[in-house]
Symmetry: D2
Subunit: 290 residues, 4 copies
């Protein structure tokens, strides 16, 4: 078990009245990710709407901001007790046997046009032994063939763009890996958290985008950008791609400041400090189908 | 109330063993769409998996077919008792007040890149009076500016393609209308049914794609291609776009024959025959939020 | 006649040896654009290759730079004696009668996918009276429907993107106008010069991208972004789109500084100072077909 | 030397008056491709416009057809005496040393978005030994990774689409190879001819699209689809991509019949019959720079 303490601070200048925000910055509450304490503060006097999706456990925070400065800060302490299992025990699931709620993650989405790169995917990964290893092969291929470079992609960049251009940030790595998985009929989704353990040379602590693939009977974590330590990912939201699970979706034009994020491993109740580390097991924070 | 009797017959030649199919050809059961009788027959001996999505009421039918001929036939009798209301009473819903389950329909999807055509949408529809009339204006704009032409689009054609090319089939009309709605913050989704009342000059009775937009507190029906009579639409499935709600998603290569579809209005229990007709009211088969 | 004196100064940090540059920063020499004096200086000791295209009069300057700072400066004094004619006298040319060298400007190019937006173009401009007025209508439409906004587009942005997104810089305005012209069978090309007369509020003097359309028997100037004064455009290069006529094409990664550009109208030999102004006539610096 | 006799027959139903056609179906006359005899016949009474591009030797035939049937037939006998040289003697040319007229073939074009797939190209081919062998490696990669499948692409399909989808026809193979060459700074162009020697299982004799890359001081022939025998390619037209060098570009809607094409090797004046065969040498029909 790992205990993590973190804070997220967002700051905006709102110019138009009635600007709506949807935030996904609160830790999901799952069987394997327990929120011990949390605190949310908003600089304006307003009543946010909270909505928890019963299936994904995403916590949507909505508010309509007044013109002026808006500051949103979320602090939490979270225990992560991953479901960890030997990779060779984790198989793929035939389409016919997938839980119904998993089906949408087989289909192409805005940034993951699995229909367009199916030829590529079949060629590279169609013949591999099915199972966790195949997904890891896709993850490794993306990690090895895409270069991490800031400011080479934007909010319109899709998996096909990245397949051709071979550069991007964590979001682009995730989109490409997801599209490749779906193209060989493996359900995959986009997840957002914090880049725990990232090399400070890549910049200050930031949000992170990674991938969950459905294998065995649950969603397993993969980090195609390879820039952080999966065991330290606190899951905020999941979705088909970044369109669903952005940490902030803003309806209107605002000025945004860079988010300020801090995350640390802290001792548990018995005073043990466990640091997230790279692990060979397949990891999941998902409860699994029942 | 309208009573409709219809049948859908699909035929394939399956070449590879273990070819998975996901069908969306069964009438959704909603508060306003009651299934009186239905019958499903499958030419191969196999046990299909049925899954009903609790929120959309989509009925996914999955099966893994054997090589050889596969024939799937669905017959049903359905009563449609629409929620019908004067358009001027139907308003838009602020993002902050949308039900959580509706949020995903605000975001761009594979075929509805609302992020890319936001400039266009704001220019044309951003300043209109908010409400049902604005959605109808979008519907009318699409109906008036896109030409219905078979074989001008394919499974990769998206809303931006149609915005530029100005031609397509019902699916393309729907994608463009959906993308335009989302770009001005109106939730919209893709719906599939049968083209009741379509001009026989357009070809034999076929599946139909249309649009539902979230207004007031429910999903209302719009037909941007204008080729059929909305009051006669039996809803099969809804989704973000055609990727979610295809009548058949096939995992593997098969030979497909043209679907054979028949639909008729039939007398109700008292012997009254009500024919679907074009109506000025806003129509919905959705129960509304509670 | 207008006499213009200008300078262009480019500065780079070259990191890899053997980095090739192709510059298009020298004033084209045409019948109506006479170069009175010019001076080119390059901070490194190397022998540039000069190539003048016999048809477009583009002057390509190529050099292979050494690692370190590279500074290129071009100064010139140019007389512009436009061919100016009443717009109503300028007609379109049937495809069958176009000079052979003009044909390529009818076809789609990298950033001007006239094939993809033909439907839109025919709908808006297909029915207009053919002639200069139709091209002006296209120019006005682009000027009126696209917003000038810095940093909203990049080197991958194409005409279809701008048609949907409705924002960009002069290059994007030009690409969209060119694509629309070609889609209704009017040859159009991309031209680069300096934004003479631009509002200083848009930033310091910069390169400019505008459009030339083939009408009557020559290429006429249009400025779809409307940010500068066409009569003051010194033509550097023309091409199918920005891929051909960039002021600098660099083969390798370098660090670029912002170009420093200055342009002024100066008195002619008799001491008369003519300032470029907005004019109602159709303007061309092209000699016309013989 | 190879002597080839061939005929091309095109048939259309023209519905609108004043429909313009641009044909590229006549054999280019180059130093290495001599036209011994040719005959052109057109079923309508009209005067076609002929234009020969002085640099590419493309022969553009333009005509404005009357409504009704239009049949165009071209017969020719051509001698091909290739410039043939050992591949290891053919090097790449530095950008700084390329003839000016070759520069445009370095830049991205409509169907060959070399800017978008530069990352991929550099990764795969950036580190290879420069020369003919690198271009052959690109040709082999395309031949080995794209599947020839009719009806999987259309007139909008580009190199990036094919890179992702991995299927297409000869035109798509050519576009992808061209884009990859340009992305590593090797000039490449699209060429059209007849698929001499193609396997009859692929269908009747047809037009063919292949690639010419600029190496040493001339344009060399490559056949990325691998479906025919390069030594038997009679060159019709070359261009940046299919937009420039289509065998027929039609301005207006017409009904097209399938082209009927025949090609045979015939004995030369001394009665020797030389059959085109696959050869290991680098082949060119281009005169080379002077």
């Amino acid at each position: 078990m790992v205990r993590l303490q973190f804070s997220v601070e967002l700051a905006y200048e709102v110019t138009a009245p009635g600007t709506d925000f949807v935030f996904n910055i609160e830790a999901a509450r799952t069987h394997h990710q327990r929120v011990l304490a949390e605190h949310l503060s908003i600089s304006q006097t307003l009543v946010p709407q909270a909505h928890v999706d019963p299936i994904t456990h995403n916590r949507y925070l909505r508010l309509q901001a007044h013109p002026g400065a808006l500051r949103v800060r979320y602090d939490a302490t979270v225990d992560l007790a991953h479901h960890a299992v030997a990779p060779e025990l984790v198989g793929e699931v035939w389409v016919a046997n997938l839980p119904g709620a998993v089906l949408p993650y087989l289909y192409p989405s805005r940034y993951c046009e699995s229909d367009r790169l199916q030829g590529f995917a079949l060629q590279h990964f169609g013949g591999l032994w099915q199972g966790y290893g195949r997904v890891m092969a896709i993850r490794d291929w993306v990690a090895g063939h895409v270069a991490f470079r800031s400011n080479t992609s934007d909010s319109h960049t899709s998996a096909v763009d990245t397949l051709a251009g071979r550069e991007g940030v964590c979001r682009d790595f995730a989109h490409l890996m997801i599209a490749l998985c779906r193209a060989v009929n493996i359900p995959a989704r986009f997840a957002t958290g914090i880049d725990y353990g990232a090399d400070p040379a890549l910049g200050p602590t930031d949000f992170h985008a990674y991938v969950e693939a459905y294998l065995g009977n649950r969603w397993y974590i993969f980090d195609p950008s390879g820039t952080a330590i999966p065991m330290g990912f606190v899951r905020f939201a999941t979705g088909r791609d970044a369109a669903d699970a952005a940490f902030a979706t803003i309806f209107g034009r605002v000025e945004s400041h860079a988010p300020r994020i801090r995350i640390d491993a802290v001792p548990d109740d018995e005073g043990h400090l466990v640091l997230p580390r790279h692990r060979a097991e397949a990891l999941s924070t998902d409860a699994g189908a029942h």
